[in-house]
Each structure stands twice: as C-alpha cells, then as structure tokens.
Amino acid sequence: MATTFTIDPVTRIEGHLKIEVTVDTVDNQQQVVNARSCGVMFRGFEKILINHDAFDAPIISQRICGVCPVSHATASCLSLENAFGATPPANGRILRNLILGANYIQSHILHFYHLAAMDYINTQGILDMAPWTPRFITPDMISGSLAQTLVSHYVQALAIRRKVHQMGALFGGKLPHPASFMPGGCLDVPSTEKPAAFRVLLDEIKQFIDTVFVPDTQALKDLFPQYSEIGRGCGKLLAYGVFDLNDAGTSKLLARGRYNGTSIEPLDPAVIAEDVKYSWFSSPSGLNPSVGETEADRYKEGAYSWTKAPRYNGQVYELGPLARMWVNGDYRNGISVMDRLLARALEAQKIAYAMDSADHTSGWLNELSVGAPSYSKPTIPTVPNPLNGIGLTEAPRGALGHWSTISAYIPAGSTTAKGKILRYQVITPTS
C-alpha cells in the first residue's frame, strides 16, 4: 500500500517549503513512487518590477532573498549591463566580487553550522532549550565531547559570519541588502583604509575556514560514510559561473559549464526553459525566460507549487557549490550528501584566498586601484527597442539568472534616454 510522508514545514531553510514523498512496494521492492517539492509562498516580484525604472531593479530584485541578496543584485546589474551594452570599470567589477564573495562565505558558514549541522549532532544535554528543542534525535547522531565541540563551533560561527558580513559592508554600505550595486559598477570606492580593514577581517575568517570549517565538514564526511553513498541526485551538474576575473567576463574564478554525467560541456542559455505544468501559473509551460510569464492561478488543476521547474534542454541539472567546483575541476570526488557539504566548505576557502592570497601579495584586494573610478553610469541606448538583457551568475546555492526587457525611448523634451522595465524574469537556484 502506498504511504505518503509529508514534511511541512521544512525548516532551517530560507522560504516556505513542503515535501511530500510517496513510498510503495513495486515488484517486491519498497521504493519512492512519487515526490513533490512544494514552494508554498508567492509574492510576485516579476509582476511588481514591471513599469519600474530599470535602475530600480537591483534594489527591488535583491529583496527576493535575504540570504543571497548580493547574488540577485549582481544578476540584476549584469542583466541591465547586458541590455545597455555597458561594462563597469575594473574597480567596480572587483568590488562587486569582494562583496559577493563575502556573502558567499557568510552563507556557506550559515548553511553548514546553523542550518545543516543540527541534523548530525545530538544536542541533548548541551542545548536543552528553544529553538534547539524539541527536535528529532537518532541513535547515530554525534554525541559526547565532539558534539560539545561542534556546538561551540556553532556559536563561534555566529560571530565569524557576522564579521564576514561586516567585511562585505565596508564596500556594500550594509548587509544583507547591499546599497552600492548599480548597473555600471559599484558606487562605493576603495579608499586606502577600507582594503586594509577588509584584510584584517579576512585573515581571521580564513583561519576559521582553514582550522574549523573545512576540518568539521571533513570530520562529518568521515563519521557518516553512509551519507557519501546517498543523495546522488540526477548526476548532472550545471553552473553559470561567477566572479569575473576580467572586464569582459570571459574568465571567471568558477567557470560556466555543465557536466552531463560523462563530460564537461558548454552552456547555451537559449535552451533554458521553465515548466509550469504543476505550478500555480496559467502561463504557458516551457518558455525561455527571455519571453517568460508569471500569471498566478490558484485554481489550476493538478498544480502543487508556487515554484516553476527550470530545465536545460528539457533535462534536470543539479546546481550549487558542488556543481561549480565540479565544473571548474576543483572537486570531483563524488556526488552525495557529504560531498555537497565538503565542496561547499572548500569553495568558501577558494573564494577567501582568491580575495587575498596567503602572503597578501596577490588577489582581488591587491588589484583594487585607489583613486580610479569604480562606477560609470551607463547610457541607455535608444535602439533596438526594446532592449533585452541576460544576467547569469551564481547564488551560494546555485545558478541564478535575471532576464530583463527594457524600453528604449527618448521622452519628449529630453535628450536623456530612459528605460522602463517591460518584462523581468528570474530563475532562482532553489526552484
């Protein structure tokens, strides 16, 4: 007999999620026969952005997610710069990398210690109060002195991730929801003092990553060998790539590409589509986001989620730190629950050292040029009309894309071209 298990709500995530899994015995073997991932919250950002001034987009769209707002701001700037044919000055590109990198590291630390680790540690006798109780405890969870050590790292990680945000705010204005991201670069500038302050914080953060974060994820991988065998997913990995290393964006710290199960292949954004057959939208299914629609329909038959289902050439791909590290050739040990945790920690380490090398002689901080501009406001072209832009980047949890369509026209009595948002479509990694 088929049994359906429901986890509602799924907690320790950003957003509102319900999981339904149906298990049945087929051909004498018990197996999952159906699984539904249900996004159960809708706001309608893609509708709200329409008719706004194009320059409102980075500020509004980053509010989609309070954990990865910097990624949304980045995708929005890249999309508009693509539409306008604009390229930020080198300082702007580097400052955006530094702020984005800071947010990656805080998100990775938050993910491991404050969201995921609770699933592996028996905190009874250590944290016997809300919000850590009530909770599920299983016999194989880590207990004793190691559990105490990991809980102390949970508390230490709270302070470290705060410092990572402080580091990013030096150039972002504030975090979460940075101020300084605009199409054309970064509005804040590198003074002589700020890179030095950034470096002091980064050194402490690197030490935490090297001596606590990476060893803890490795220890977990060793302690739970069974979790290196499960959670293999679809076996296909995709990354839009992130952290541009040149102004043209052709070189990235983490490359663009996809792993089809056997080889690394290039990525063609034209074959990305969003299915909505099971989503509460009346819009056509299978649209490329450059012509995407978001028409809510709560009464749609057979639908069960507010999230759309993105596909690459009709196929499902896994996204995230493991996908990025795999595509880039930095981690190819396996695809599993534990490989995802370890790849995430190693990615945090890679980003931290790309910001500033161990001996402080190379890296993004050193590439900043004090006194040189970090921002150049784009002129909005008047042709073609409309202007279309694609902004592909990565959120900590995976590939993130913003597709924008902007009107190009010259208002009467003005010589300044202005753009209004005609269409705005976002594919988040979690969908």
């Binding site: 429901t6 709500p9 319900k18 159960v40 707002p69 504030k174």
Partner: protein
Amino acid sequence: MRLSRRDFLKIAGAAGITSVLPLDLIQKAMAGSGDPRVIWLQGQSCSGCSVSLLNSVKTTTIDDILLNKINLEYHSTLIAAAGDLAIKGALGPHPNLTELGAFENQWLMEGTELKFDLDKDGRVNLVDFNALCRQGYILVVEGSIPAEDAACPVKFCDIGGHLSMEEAFSILSQKADKIIALGTCACYGGIPHAVPNPTGAKGVSDKLIELGYSKPLINIPGCPAHPDWFVLTLLKVLAGQTVTLDSKGRPAELFGDSSSQKVHAKCLFHPSRWPGTEPPKAETLGDYGCLETLGCKGKNTWSNCPVLKWNSGSPGQNGVNWCVEARTPCCGCVEPDFPDGKTPFITGS
C-alpha cells in the same frame, strides 16, 4: 496576565488537573528556562530581517539573546525541529478539544472564546496549543501577510501544518502580550504590497484593523531592519519599559517625526557639518557628495542610519558604513510608502 511555569504547575497539581491532561505534556508545554517566550512568524519575507538580526553585536549578540534573554519557541529558519514536530510541538499525546476546553475554562480563561483549528487527524496543533497554554509571549512577525481566499485550498503563504500565514497570525496575535512587526514588509506591506500587489499583501497594523483586534504593536521597519533597532526595543520590552512610538508606530527615539530626526539632518553632507563652506554635491552617480539631486530620499525618511550605521564590529561600536557613505542615495526603506512612494530610486544624470 502570564502564568509562570512554577505557578502553573502549583495550581495544576493542587487542583488535580493532571487527571485532565498528562503531566508530561503540561511540562512540555511549559518547558524552557522561564525566559520570555518569543514566537517568530515568517510570512511573505525574504528572511533578510532574520539574517540582519544575526549581525547584532553593538548592544548584544544573537547567541546572548537566544541563550540568555528569550525562549525562541518558533522560528522556521532557526528551530531544530521540522514538519509535524515543529508545528505540533509535543512528542506525547495531544489533548483533544474537550480537554483543551476544560483546561482553558479552569485555568486560563480571559473572557475570550478561542476557536480551534483541528488539522486533518483531528488533533489540536501547536499554534492552537500555544494560543491556549502559553500566555505571555511576544509575537514577532517578519514579512507581509497576503489576503487568502477562504474558498480556495491554495494559499499564497502557508507556514506549515495546514495553516496559512493569515490563519496563524489571526490565532497567535489574539493571545500575544505584544506584537513586534519587524521589517518594512511586516510593518507596512513593503515590496509584496507594491503595485500591483499580486497577493493582497498587508502589514501587521492593517491586518489587525481588518481582524478587529486591538493589540500593543511596535513597528520596527527597514529593509532589512537594523539589528540594533530590534535588540534595543526587545530589551526595553523585556525590562517592562515603555517604548514611545512615533506617528508611524515606530520607536520614536530611533525613527521619529521631527525634522532633526530625518536622515538628511543626520547625514554627513548636511550643511551643519560643513561650517564655513558648502557641502560637496555629487553631480553624477559615483561622485562623492550630497546625493539629493540623484534620488536621495533622506529628506523624507526618518531614521538614525547616518549615526548608528550598519554592520558594527564590536560591542558599543557603531557600524562601518551606510547607504549614503557608500555613495548610494537613501532609498527610504523605513517609510510606509516604500517602495512605491520612493521610486524611481535613482534620478538625474
């Protein structure tokens, strides 16, 4: 009125209430250190206000708050539990409707009739249980509350356990001692409320009016809310101090109505800070100077951002940066008309 755990067990034991409800269940319901209870509901939020709170350090840190100041009983991003355990809250048998009714009538009556939402297995869920048993909690709301269609099984925002955000807010707000709306979405609707407001989103104060409830409410807006705004206010509430509110329901000392409390008045480019000379003016975006002609909303925004700043590094210290210091026009994120009344955010050349 709030019963302490000890008070409750005393009277419950004396009156033999344990024959009505299993003692272990009562103990579970009353579990915790006795710290003030906080239930944190996330509606149409991005969790940015929760992430911002994690950055708290100037007044005190988040671990101090969680370990020593409050009992955070429900917060979907931070709680260890999930699924039924998160919502129902008790591992033991759940009381039925009759038992809960008797329990309420005998011990916790306050003259209002509670309605219970029985979930599909006929048991009372945690939200009801909280509303009934757990007197004296502070309800924190993050995110806006959409307008659901009672006739439609599909909701714009479910919080789990067959409860929509609208239902959960309706139940939990009735019995809360005090409500704190955290962030502009919870205070005034924020971005989900912006034209065309696809989900009929509202902030807490408008929702309370719609429900006909009168509850002590403190608005702490911001996109996100500054952690110190929340922590300072929470500590005042816990200490039983009066929080004086401005005309928009915000702590007056942090936001306020007077012209001297405007972002413009406190800004580093205000003429009062440039004696004998004109403050520099930014001609184009990216320039150093006053951003008034480039879209800055500092003259129509009341907050202490320019002084407090953001992302402090240590106790007692102000933050390291803020929007205008990062050469970005203030976008007015703490005001009720954010974002519709504050856009376009960028103007001029």
